[in-house]
Protein backbone atom coordinates (compact mmCIF):
# COMPACT_ATOMS: atom_id res chain seq x y z
CA UNK A 1 0.00 0.00 0.00
CA UNK A 2 1.70 3.16 -1.18
CA UNK A 3 0.96 6.37 0.56
CA UNK A 4 0.15 9.38 -1.56
CA UNK A 5 1.79 12.03 0.62
CA UNK A 6 5.53 11.36 0.40
CA UNK A 7 6.19 13.95 3.03
CA UNK A 8 4.70 11.65 5.66
CA UNK A 9 7.46 9.51 7.10
CA UNK A 10 5.58 7.63 9.76
CA UNK A 11 1.89 7.09 9.90
CA UNK A 12 -0.12 5.51 12.69
CA UNK A 13 -3.56 4.22 11.84
CA UNK A 14 -6.19 3.28 14.40
CA UNK A 15 -3.60 2.00 16.81
CA UNK A 16 -4.82 0.24 19.94
CA UNK A 17 -2.75 -1.51 22.55
CA UNK A 18 -3.41 -3.01 25.95
CA UNK A 19 -1.14 -4.60 28.52
CA UNK A 20 -3.98 -6.44 30.21
CA UNK A 21 -7.56 -7.18 29.28
CA UNK A 22 -9.19 -4.70 31.60
CA UNK A 23 -7.06 -1.70 30.80
CA UNK A 24 -6.45 -0.33 27.34
CA UNK A 25 -3.24 1.69 27.23
CA UNK A 26 -3.80 3.13 23.76
CA UNK A 27 -7.23 3.67 22.20
CA UNK A 28 -7.59 4.01 18.49
CA UNK A 29 -4.80 6.47 17.79
CA UNK A 30 -4.22 7.91 14.35
CA UNK A 31 -1.36 10.27 13.67
CA UNK A 32 0.67 11.30 10.66
CA UNK A 33 4.24 12.33 11.29
CA UNK A 34 5.87 14.40 8.57
CA UNK A 35 9.53 14.49 7.68
CA UNK A 36 11.53 16.98 9.72
CA UNK A 37 8.81 17.74 12.23
CA UNK A 38 9.50 18.53 15.86
CA UNK A 39 6.71 17.01 17.88
CA UNK A 40 6.30 17.39 21.62
CA UNK A 41 4.20 14.67 23.19
CA UNK A 42 2.72 15.80 26.49
CA UNK A 43 0.31 14.27 28.96
CA UNK A 44 0.20 13.12 32.55
CA UNK A 45 1.88 9.98 33.85
CA UNK A 46 0.29 6.84 32.53
CA UNK A 47 -1.33 8.64 29.60
CA UNK A 48 0.24 6.16 27.19
CA UNK A 49 3.17 8.15 25.80
CA UNK A 50 5.82 5.52 26.42
CA UNK A 51 3.56 2.74 25.17
CA UNK A 52 2.95 4.76 22.04
CA UNK A 53 6.69 5.17 21.49
CA UNK A 54 7.37 1.48 21.93
CA UNK A 55 4.73 0.76 19.31
CA UNK A 56 6.30 3.24 16.92
CA UNK A 57 9.59 1.42 17.11
CA UNK A 58 8.09 -2.04 16.85
CA UNK A 59 9.06 -3.29 20.29
CA UNK A 60 5.37 -3.62 21.08
CA UNK A 61 3.08 -5.04 18.42
CA UNK A 62 -0.18 -3.13 17.93
CA UNK A 63 -3.30 -4.97 18.92
CA UNK A 64 -5.33 -3.23 16.28
CA UNK A 65 -4.30 -0.86 13.58
CA UNK A 66 -1.04 -0.46 11.76
CA UNK A 67 2.12 1.53 11.50
CA UNK A 68 3.23 2.69 8.10
CA UNK A 69 6.83 3.70 7.58
CA UNK A 70 7.66 5.53 4.33
CA UNK A 71 4.60 4.08 2.69
CA UNK A 72 5.16 0.49 3.78
CA UNK A 73 2.90 -1.09 6.37
CA UNK A 74 4.97 -2.75 9.08
CA UNK A 75 4.66 -6.50 9.43
CA UNK A 76 6.89 -9.03 11.14
CA UNK A 77 9.03 -9.21 8.02
CA UNK A 78 10.10 -5.58 7.87
CA UNK A 79 10.06 -4.97 11.61
CA UNK A 80 13.83 -4.56 11.74
CA UNK A 81 13.57 -1.90 9.05
CA UNK A 82 11.32 0.07 11.39
CA UNK A 83 13.69 -0.36 14.33
CA UNK A 84 16.63 0.79 12.23
CA UNK A 85 14.83 3.93 11.21
CA UNK A 86 13.05 4.86 14.41
CA UNK A 87 15.43 5.15 17.36
CA UNK A 88 14.33 5.55 20.96
CA UNK A 89 16.42 7.24 23.61
CA UNK A 90 14.99 5.81 26.81
CA UNK A 91 14.19 7.91 29.83
CA UNK A 92 16.57 6.10 32.13
CA UNK A 93 20.01 5.63 30.55
CA UNK A 94 20.70 2.83 33.01
CA UNK A 95 18.01 0.71 31.46
CA UNK A 96 19.47 1.25 28.02
CA UNK A 97 23.20 0.93 28.59
CA UNK A 98 24.49 -2.64 28.53
CA UNK A 99 28.11 -2.82 27.46
CA UNK A 100 31.14 -2.49 29.66
CA UNK A 101 32.83 0.27 27.72
CA UNK A 102 31.36 3.37 26.10
CA UNK A 103 32.76 2.42 22.71
CA UNK A 104 31.30 -1.10 22.87
CA UNK A 105 28.00 0.34 24.05
CA UNK A 106 27.65 2.72 21.14
CA UNK A 107 28.67 0.02 18.67
CA UNK A 108 25.81 -2.23 19.78
CA UNK A 109 23.20 -0.77 17.41
CA UNK A 110 25.41 -0.68 14.29
CA UNK A 111 26.68 -4.20 15.08
CA UNK A 112 23.09 -5.46 15.26
CA UNK A 113 22.43 -3.84 11.92
CA UNK A 114 25.13 -6.20 10.61
CA UNK A 115 27.15 -3.40 9.07
CA UNK A 116 30.71 -4.03 7.89
CA UNK A 117 33.36 -3.69 10.58
CA UNK A 118 34.86 -0.44 9.26
CA UNK A 119 31.43 1.14 8.96
CA UNK A 120 30.66 0.21 12.59
CA UNK A 121 33.90 1.82 13.74
CA UNK A 122 33.39 4.99 11.76
CA UNK A 123 29.79 5.37 12.92
CA UNK A 124 30.74 4.76 16.54
CA UNK A 125 33.51 7.33 16.37
CA UNK A 126 31.26 9.84 14.65
CA UNK A 127 28.50 9.38 17.21
CA UNK A 128 30.98 9.92 20.06
CA UNK A 129 32.28 13.05 18.38
CA UNK A 130 28.74 14.29 17.83
CA UNK A 131 28.00 13.99 21.53
CA UNK A 132 31.45 15.21 22.61
CA UNK A 133 32.28 12.06 24.51
CA UNK A 134 35.26 10.79 22.54
CA UNK A 135 37.43 11.14 25.65
CA UNK A 136 35.17 8.65 27.47
CA UNK A 137 35.47 5.95 24.82
CA UNK A 138 37.11 3.26 26.94
CA UNK A 139 35.41 4.10 30.25
CA UNK A 140 32.77 1.77 31.73
CA UNK A 141 29.48 3.61 31.19
CA UNK A 142 27.90 2.61 34.48
CA UNK A 143 30.37 4.77 36.36
CA UNK A 144 29.73 7.93 34.40
CA UNK A 145 27.75 10.88 35.71
CA UNK A 146 24.06 11.24 34.89
CA UNK A 147 24.69 13.78 32.15
CA UNK A 148 27.45 11.72 30.56
CA UNK A 149 25.26 8.63 30.64
CA UNK A 150 22.55 10.58 28.85
CA UNK A 151 25.09 11.56 26.19
CA UNK A 152 26.08 7.92 25.77
CA UNK A 153 22.46 6.84 25.45
CA UNK A 154 21.87 9.47 22.77
CA UNK A 155 25.08 8.53 20.94
CA UNK A 156 23.78 4.93 21.00
CA UNK A 157 20.94 6.00 18.76
CA UNK A 158 22.88 8.50 16.66
CA UNK A 159 25.25 5.71 15.65
CA UNK A 160 22.29 3.90 14.11
CA UNK A 161 21.47 7.00 11.99
CA UNK A 162 17.70 6.61 12.16
CA UNK A 163 15.32 8.95 10.31
CA UNK A 164 13.12 9.42 13.34
CA UNK A 165 14.44 10.11 16.83
CA UNK A 166 12.23 9.51 19.84
CA UNK A 167 13.24 10.99 23.17
CA UNK A 168 11.30 9.64 26.14
CA UNK A 169 11.35 12.37 28.78
CA UNK A 170 14.95 13.31 28.06
CA UNK A 171 15.22 16.20 30.53
CA UNK A 172 14.37 14.14 33.60
CA UNK A 173 17.24 14.17 36.05
CA UNK A 174 19.49 16.47 34.02
CA UNK A 175 21.13 19.51 35.54
CA UNK A 176 20.71 22.88 33.73
CA UNK A 177 24.00 22.55 31.85
CA UNK A 178 23.08 19.13 30.53
CA UNK A 179 19.54 20.28 29.73
CA UNK A 180 21.11 23.00 27.54
CA UNK A 181 23.35 20.39 25.93
CA UNK A 182 20.26 18.32 25.18
CA UNK A 183 18.48 21.23 23.52
CA UNK A 184 21.58 21.92 21.47
CA UNK A 185 21.58 18.30 20.27
CA UNK A 186 17.88 18.56 19.44
CA UNK A 187 18.57 21.67 17.36
CA UNK A 188 21.43 20.05 15.51
CA UNK A 189 19.38 16.97 14.71
CA UNK A 190 16.54 19.19 13.52
CA UNK A 191 18.87 21.16 11.26
CA UNK A 192 20.05 17.90 9.72
CA UNK A 193 16.48 17.21 8.72
CA UNK A 194 15.74 14.51 11.30
CA UNK A 195 12.24 13.97 12.56
CA UNK A 196 12.00 14.23 16.33
CA UNK A 197 9.36 13.15 18.82
CA UNK A 198 9.92 14.12 22.41
CA UNK A 199 7.78 13.43 25.42
CA UNK A 200 8.08 15.74 28.36
CA UNK A 201 6.36 17.14 31.42
CA UNK A 202 8.26 20.37 30.93
CA UNK A 203 5.65 22.56 29.18
CA UNK A 204 8.16 25.38 28.76
CA UNK A 205 10.39 23.10 26.73
CA UNK A 206 7.48 21.74 24.72
CA UNK A 207 6.32 25.25 23.99
CA UNK A 208 9.61 26.80 22.89
CA UNK A 209 10.95 23.81 21.00
CA UNK A 210 8.11 22.06 19.20
CA UNK A 211 6.39 22.78 15.89
CA UNK A 212 3.53 20.60 16.91
CA UNK A 213 2.17 19.44 20.23
CA UNK A 214 0.30 16.19 20.70
CA UNK A 215 -1.57 15.76 23.98
CA UNK A 216 -2.20 12.29 25.32
CA UNK A 217 -4.82 11.56 27.93
CA UNK A 218 -5.82 8.11 29.12
CA UNK A 219 -4.63 6.45 25.96
CA UNK A 220 -6.20 8.91 23.57
CA UNK A 221 -4.92 11.87 21.61
CA UNK A 222 -7.03 14.79 22.80
CA UNK A 223 -5.20 17.55 20.97
CA UNK A 224 -2.82 17.75 18.03
CA UNK A 225 -1.94 21.25 16.93
CA UNK A 226 0.64 24.02 17.11
CA UNK A 227 1.85 24.74 20.66
CA UNK A 228 0.11 28.16 20.58
CA UNK A 229 -3.25 26.60 19.85
CA UNK A 230 -2.86 23.70 22.25
CA UNK A 231 -1.86 25.89 25.18
CA UNK A 232 -4.67 28.33 24.39
CA UNK A 233 -7.26 25.59 24.84
CA UNK A 234 -8.50 25.54 28.42
CA UNK A 235 -10.47 22.33 27.99
CA UNK A 236 -7.47 20.36 26.77
CA UNK A 237 -5.21 21.72 29.49
CA UNK A 238 -7.73 20.87 32.18
CA UNK A 239 -8.39 17.40 30.86
CA UNK A 240 -4.71 16.55 30.52
CA UNK A 241 -3.88 18.29 33.79
CA UNK A 242 -1.32 20.53 32.17
CA UNK A 243 -0.36 24.04 33.11
CA UNK A 244 0.56 26.87 30.76
CA UNK A 245 4.14 27.70 29.87
CA UNK A 246 5.40 30.62 31.96
CA UNK A 247 6.36 32.70 28.91
CA UNK A 248 2.83 32.28 27.61
CA UNK A 249 1.28 33.38 30.92
CA UNK A 250 3.55 36.41 31.26
CA UNK A 251 2.90 37.42 27.68
CA UNK A 252 -0.86 37.10 28.31
CA UNK A 253 -0.68 39.27 31.41
CA UNK A 254 1.42 41.94 29.69
CA UNK A 255 -0.89 42.00 26.70
CA UNK A 256 -3.95 42.29 28.88
CA UNK A 257 -2.48 45.36 30.54
CA UNK A 258 -1.78 46.74 27.09
CA UNK A 259 1.95 46.82 27.70
CA UNK A 260 2.73 44.53 24.78
CA UNK A 261 0.83 44.87 21.53
CA UNK A 262 2.48 42.16 19.47
CA UNK A 263 -0.08 39.57 18.44
CA UNK A 264 2.46 36.82 18.12
CA UNK A 265 3.16 35.09 21.41
CA UNK A 266 6.91 34.70 22.03
CA UNK A 267 8.18 31.13 22.34
CA UNK A 268 11.11 31.59 24.65
CA UNK A 269 12.29 33.84 27.45
CA UNK A 270 14.68 35.46 24.98
CA UNK A 271 11.91 36.38 22.57
CA UNK A 272 9.80 37.75 25.41
CA UNK A 273 12.71 39.89 26.58
CA UNK A 274 13.05 41.34 23.09
CA UNK A 275 9.39 42.29 23.14
CA UNK A 276 9.76 43.96 26.53
CA UNK A 277 12.93 45.75 25.45
CA UNK A 278 11.07 47.13 22.44
CA UNK A 279 8.50 48.87 24.62
Amino acid sequence: MKHTDTNIILSVKNLSYSYSEDRQALKNISLDIRRGERIAVVGSNGAGKSTFFLNLNGVLTPEHGEIVFEGNAITKKNLLELRKNVGIVFQDPDSQIIASTVMAEISFGPMNMRLPHDEVISRTLKAMEYMNITHLSSRPPHYLSGGEKKCVSIADIIAMTPQVFIFDEPTVGLDPVNACMLEDVLDRLYNEGKTILLSTHDVDLAYRWADRTVVFNEGEVIADDTPENVFADDNVLKKARLCRPSVYEIYGALREKGIIRSKKCPRSVGELKKLIDAI
Partner: protein
Protein backbone atom coordinates in the same frame (compact mmCIF):
# COMPACT_ATOMS: atom_id res chain seq x y z
CA UNK B 1 33.54 -18.56 33.91
CA UNK B 2 30.47 -16.46 34.57
CA UNK B 3 28.26 -19.53 35.01
CA UNK B 4 30.46 -20.44 37.89
CA UNK B 5 30.49 -17.04 39.44
CA UNK B 6 26.78 -16.30 39.53
CA UNK B 7 26.23 -17.26 43.15
CA UNK B 8 29.58 -15.79 44.07
CA UNK B 9 28.72 -12.57 42.36
CA UNK B 10 25.57 -12.17 44.36
CA UNK B 11 27.25 -12.95 47.64
CA UNK B 12 30.07 -10.64 46.87
CA UNK B 13 27.71 -7.91 45.88
CA UNK B 14 25.69 -8.28 49.02
CA UNK B 15 28.76 -8.07 51.15
CA UNK B 16 30.07 -5.04 49.43
CA UNK B 17 26.80 -3.21 49.58
CA UNK B 18 27.27 -2.81 53.27
CA UNK B 19 30.35 -0.80 52.48
CA UNK B 20 28.50 1.18 49.91
CA UNK B 21 30.51 -0.11 47.00
CA UNK B 22 29.19 0.03 43.53
CA UNK B 23 27.43 -3.14 42.61
CA UNK B 24 29.14 -3.61 39.28
CA UNK B 25 32.12 -4.90 41.21
CA UNK B 26 33.11 -7.97 39.24
CA UNK B 27 32.71 -6.23 35.92
CA UNK B 28 34.72 -3.31 37.17
CA UNK B 29 37.47 -5.52 38.55
CA UNK B 30 37.71 -7.20 35.15
CA UNK B 31 37.69 -3.87 33.40
CA UNK B 32 40.40 -2.36 35.62
CA UNK B 33 42.62 -5.41 35.57
CA UNK B 34 45.95 -4.98 33.82
CA UNK B 35 45.31 -8.39 32.26
CA UNK B 36 42.30 -6.93 30.46
CA UNK B 37 44.53 -6.01 27.53
CA UNK B 38 45.59 -9.63 27.06
CA UNK B 39 44.02 -11.61 24.28
CA UNK B 40 40.81 -13.10 25.71
CA UNK B 41 41.01 -16.42 23.85
CA UNK B 42 44.52 -16.85 25.18
CA UNK B 43 43.30 -16.27 28.73
CA UNK B 44 40.43 -18.72 28.29
CA UNK B 45 42.74 -21.47 27.03
CA UNK B 46 45.32 -20.69 29.69
CA UNK B 47 42.77 -20.87 32.47
CA UNK B 48 41.07 -24.01 31.14
CA UNK B 49 44.40 -25.83 30.75
CA UNK B 50 45.33 -24.95 34.33
CA UNK B 51 41.93 -26.13 35.44
CA UNK B 52 42.40 -29.49 33.74
CA UNK B 53 45.90 -29.80 35.16
CA UNK B 54 44.41 -29.28 38.62
CA UNK B 55 41.62 -31.75 38.21
CA UNK B 56 43.75 -34.43 36.56
CA UNK B 57 46.71 -34.22 38.92
CA UNK B 58 47.05 -37.18 41.26
CA UNK B 59 48.55 -35.25 44.13
CA UNK B 60 48.25 -31.90 45.88
CA UNK B 61 51.32 -30.15 44.44
CA UNK B 62 49.86 -29.06 41.14
CA UNK B 63 46.68 -27.63 42.75
CA UNK B 64 48.79 -25.78 45.34
CA UNK B 65 50.99 -24.42 42.56
CA UNK B 66 47.94 -23.29 40.59
CA UNK B 67 46.29 -21.69 43.63
CA UNK B 68 49.39 -19.68 44.48
CA UNK B 69 50.36 -18.82 40.92
CA UNK B 70 46.85 -17.76 39.90
CA UNK B 71 46.57 -15.51 42.95
CA UNK B 72 49.96 -14.06 42.01
CA UNK B 73 48.93 -13.54 38.40
CA UNK B 74 45.70 -11.79 39.38
CA UNK B 75 47.19 -9.67 42.14
CA UNK B 76 50.71 -8.93 40.90
CA UNK B 77 50.31 -8.95 37.12
CA UNK B 78 46.63 -7.95 37.03
CA UNK B 79 46.90 -5.44 39.89
CA UNK B 80 43.58 -6.68 41.24
CA UNK B 81 43.04 -5.40 44.74
CA UNK B 82 44.31 -7.99 47.21
CA UNK B 83 41.42 -7.62 49.61
CA UNK B 84 38.80 -7.97 46.89
CA UNK B 85 40.54 -11.09 45.63
CA UNK B 86 40.61 -12.86 48.97
CA UNK B 87 37.11 -11.71 49.81
CA UNK B 88 35.86 -13.18 46.56
CA UNK B 89 37.79 -16.35 47.31
CA UNK B 90 36.07 -16.87 50.67
CA UNK B 91 32.77 -17.58 48.93
CA UNK B 92 33.76 -20.78 47.08
CA UNK B 93 36.02 -21.61 49.99
CA UNK B 94 33.03 -21.88 52.30
CA UNK B 95 31.36 -24.35 49.94
CA UNK B 96 34.56 -26.30 49.43
CA UNK B 97 35.21 -26.67 53.16
CA UNK B 98 31.65 -27.84 53.80
CA UNK B 99 32.00 -30.35 50.97
CA UNK B 100 35.36 -31.56 52.24
CA UNK B 101 34.02 -32.17 55.74
CA UNK B 102 31.11 -34.08 54.29
CA UNK B 103 33.39 -36.34 52.26
CA UNK B 104 35.84 -36.98 55.11
CA UNK B 105 33.42 -37.70 57.92
CA UNK B 106 31.17 -40.70 58.32
CA UNK B 107 28.48 -41.65 60.79
CA UNK B 108 27.99 -45.17 62.11
CA UNK B 109 26.66 -47.17 65.03
CA UNK B 110 29.99 -48.98 65.54
CA UNK B 111 33.24 -47.29 66.64
CA UNK B 112 35.59 -47.63 63.61
CA UNK B 113 38.24 -45.53 61.87
CA UNK B 114 41.30 -43.59 63.07
CA UNK B 115 39.48 -40.72 64.71
CA UNK B 116 36.24 -41.29 66.55
CA UNK B 117 33.87 -38.90 68.22
CA UNK B 118 31.53 -40.70 70.62
CA UNK B 119 28.12 -39.09 70.71
CA UNK B 120 26.51 -41.86 72.83
CA UNK B 121 23.79 -42.67 70.30
CA UNK B 122 26.21 -42.92 67.35
CA UNK B 123 29.80 -42.29 66.34
CA UNK B 124 31.27 -39.73 64.01
CA UNK B 125 34.47 -41.10 62.61
CA UNK B 126 37.09 -40.65 59.93
CA UNK B 127 40.35 -42.18 58.77
CA UNK B 128 43.73 -40.73 57.80
CA UNK B 129 43.09 -41.77 54.24
CA UNK B 130 39.72 -40.05 54.13
CA UNK B 131 41.12 -36.84 55.60
CA UNK B 132 43.90 -36.78 53.03
CA UNK B 133 41.44 -37.48 50.24
CA UNK B 134 39.19 -34.64 51.44
CA UNK B 135 42.07 -32.16 51.62
CA UNK B 136 43.21 -33.21 48.17
CA UNK B 137 39.74 -32.78 46.69
CA UNK B 138 39.36 -29.42 48.38
CA UNK B 139 42.68 -28.20 47.00
CA UNK B 140 41.81 -29.44 43.53
CA UNK B 141 38.51 -27.58 43.66
CA UNK B 142 40.16 -24.44 44.98
CA UNK B 143 42.80 -24.65 42.25
CA UNK B 144 40.09 -24.97 39.62
CA UNK B 145 38.24 -21.98 41.06
CA UNK B 146 41.47 -19.96 41.14
CA UNK B 147 42.09 -20.71 37.50
CA UNK B 148 38.61 -19.53 36.57
CA UNK B 149 38.92 -16.48 38.81
CA UNK B 150 42.01 -15.42 36.90
CA UNK B 151 39.81 -15.40 33.79
CA UNK B 152 36.70 -13.81 35.33
CA UNK B 153 38.60 -11.09 37.11
CA UNK B 154 40.42 -10.02 33.98
CA UNK B 155 37.94 -10.52 31.16
CA UNK B 156 34.63 -8.67 30.69
CA UNK B 157 31.85 -11.15 30.12
CA UNK B 158 31.10 -10.13 26.55
CA UNK B 159 34.65 -11.05 25.53
CA UNK B 160 34.15 -14.52 26.95
CA UNK B 161 30.83 -14.97 25.19
CA UNK B 162 32.19 -13.67 21.93
CA UNK B 163 34.98 -16.24 22.12
CA UNK B 164 32.36 -18.90 22.83
CA UNK B 165 30.45 -17.71 19.80
CA UNK B 166 33.52 -18.20 17.65
CA UNK B 167 33.87 -21.83 18.61
CA UNK B 168 30.21 -22.32 17.72
CA UNK B 169 28.73 -22.99 21.10
CA UNK B 170 24.92 -22.96 20.57
CA UNK B 171 23.46 -19.46 20.42
CA UNK B 172 20.77 -20.33 22.90
CA UNK B 173 23.29 -21.12 25.63
CA UNK B 174 25.29 -17.97 24.96
CA UNK B 175 22.20 -15.78 24.94
CA UNK B 176 20.99 -17.31 28.18
CA UNK B 177 24.38 -16.76 29.73
CA UNK B 178 24.49 -13.13 28.69
CA UNK B 179 20.98 -12.37 29.83
CA UNK B 180 21.36 -14.20 33.14
CA UNK B 181 24.57 -12.35 33.78
CA UNK B 182 22.87 -9.04 33.07
CA UNK B 183 19.78 -9.85 35.12
CA UNK B 184 21.86 -10.86 38.11
CA UNK B 185 23.02 -7.28 38.22
CA UNK B 186 19.47 -6.02 37.93
CA UNK B 187 18.43 -8.24 40.81
CA UNK B 188 21.32 -7.03 42.93
CA UNK B 189 20.61 -3.42 42.07
CA UNK B 190 16.94 -3.69 42.93
CA UNK B 191 17.77 -5.48 46.17
CA UNK B 192 20.22 -2.74 47.03
CA UNK B 193 17.64 -0.01 46.47
CA UNK B 194 14.92 -1.80 48.43
CA UNK B 195 17.33 -2.59 51.22
CA UNK B 196 18.51 0.98 51.54
CA UNK B 197 15.03 2.41 51.54
CA UNK B 198 13.83 -0.16 54.08
CA UNK B 199 16.80 0.63 56.29
CA UNK B 200 16.08 4.34 56.11
CA UNK B 201 12.60 3.64 57.46
CA UNK B 202 13.90 1.66 60.46
CA UNK B 203 13.12 -1.62 58.70
CA UNK B 204 15.97 -3.38 60.52
CA UNK B 205 15.11 -2.19 63.98
CA UNK B 206 15.00 -5.42 65.95
CA UNK B 207 15.03 -9.05 64.91
CA UNK B 208 11.33 -9.43 64.32
CA UNK B 209 11.09 -6.32 62.19
CA UNK B 210 14.18 -7.40 60.27
CA UNK B 211 12.58 -10.72 59.43
CA UNK B 212 9.40 -9.07 58.30
CA UNK B 213 11.32 -6.54 56.21
CA UNK B 214 13.38 -9.29 54.62
CA UNK B 215 10.23 -11.15 53.66
CA UNK B 216 8.62 -8.09 52.12
CA UNK B 217 11.77 -7.26 50.20
CA UNK B 218 12.04 -10.80 48.89
CA UNK B 219 8.46 -10.66 47.63
CA UNK B 220 8.85 -7.26 45.99
CA UNK B 221 12.28 -8.05 44.61
CA UNK B 222 10.81 -10.52 42.19
CA UNK B 223 8.06 -8.27 40.88
CA UNK B 224 10.26 -5.21 40.51
CA UNK B 225 13.10 -7.13 38.91
CA UNK B 226 10.72 -8.68 36.44
CA UNK B 227 9.40 -5.26 35.48
CA UNK B 228 12.89 -3.86 35.14
CA UNK B 229 14.07 -6.84 33.14
CA UNK B 230 11.16 -6.24 30.78
CA UNK B 231 12.22 -2.64 30.32
CA UNK B 232 15.83 -3.64 29.68
CA UNK B 233 14.70 -6.14 27.12
CA UNK B 234 12.58 -3.50 25.37
CA UNK B 235 15.63 -1.25 25.20
CA UNK B 236 17.67 -4.07 23.68
CA UNK B 237 14.99 -4.87 21.14
CA UNK B 238 14.58 -1.25 20.13
CA UNK B 239 18.19 -1.33 19.00
CA UNK B 240 17.65 -4.28 16.67
CA UNK B 241 18.69 -6.97 19.15
CA UNK B 242 17.83 -10.37 17.70
CA UNK B 243 19.32 -12.77 20.20
CA UNK B 244 23.01 -12.01 20.01
CA UNK B 245 24.69 -9.35 22.08
CA UNK B 246 27.11 -7.94 19.55
CA UNK B 247 29.66 -5.32 20.47
CA UNK B 248 32.64 -3.86 18.78
CA UNK B 249 35.61 -5.68 20.19
CA UNK B 250 38.79 -3.90 20.92
CA UNK B 251 41.58 -5.65 19.08
CA UNK B 252 43.68 -7.48 21.63
CA UNK B 253 46.41 -9.24 19.72
CA UNK B 254 48.16 -12.26 21.11
CA UNK B 255 51.63 -11.19 22.24
CA UNK B 256 54.64 -13.44 22.03
CA UNK B 257 55.69 -12.68 25.60
CA UNK B 258 52.30 -13.87 26.83
CA UNK B 259 52.73 -17.11 24.92
CA UNK B 260 56.25 -17.47 26.34
CA UNK B 261 54.81 -16.90 29.79
CA UNK B 262 52.21 -19.63 29.24
CA UNK B 263 54.83 -22.05 27.93
CA UNK B 264 57.03 -21.52 31.00
CA UNK B 265 53.99 -21.86 33.24
CA UNK B 266 52.94 -25.20 31.82
CA UNK B 267 56.49 -26.50 31.71
CA UNK B 268 56.56 -25.85 35.48
CA UNK B 269 53.24 -27.64 35.89
CA UNK B 270 54.46 -30.64 33.94
CA UNK B 271 57.75 -30.66 35.87
CA UNK B 272 55.84 -30.75 39.13
CA UNK B 273 53.68 -33.60 37.84
CA UNK B 274 56.80 -35.45 36.64
CA UNK B 275 58.74 -35.01 39.91
CA UNK B 276 55.76 -36.21 41.83
CA UNK B 277 55.37 -39.27 39.61
CA UNK B 278 59.09 -40.09 40.01
CA UNK B 279 58.95 -39.90 43.79
Amino acid sequence: MPVWTFPNTVFFLRRNMKHNHNIYSIDSIAYNSKLNSWNPEFKIIFSLLSLFACVLSADIFVPVFVIISMAAISIILGKTDQRSYFKLMTVPLAFIICGAIATAVDISAEPTGDYILDLNAFFIHTTNGAVFKAVQTALKALGAVSALYMLTLSTPVHEITSAMRRIHIPKLIIELMELIYRFIFILAQVYHTLNTSAGSRLGYNGLKTSFRTFGTIAANLFIISLKKAGMYYDALESRCYTGELLFLREKKPLRSRHVAFAVIYFISVITIMYLQAVN
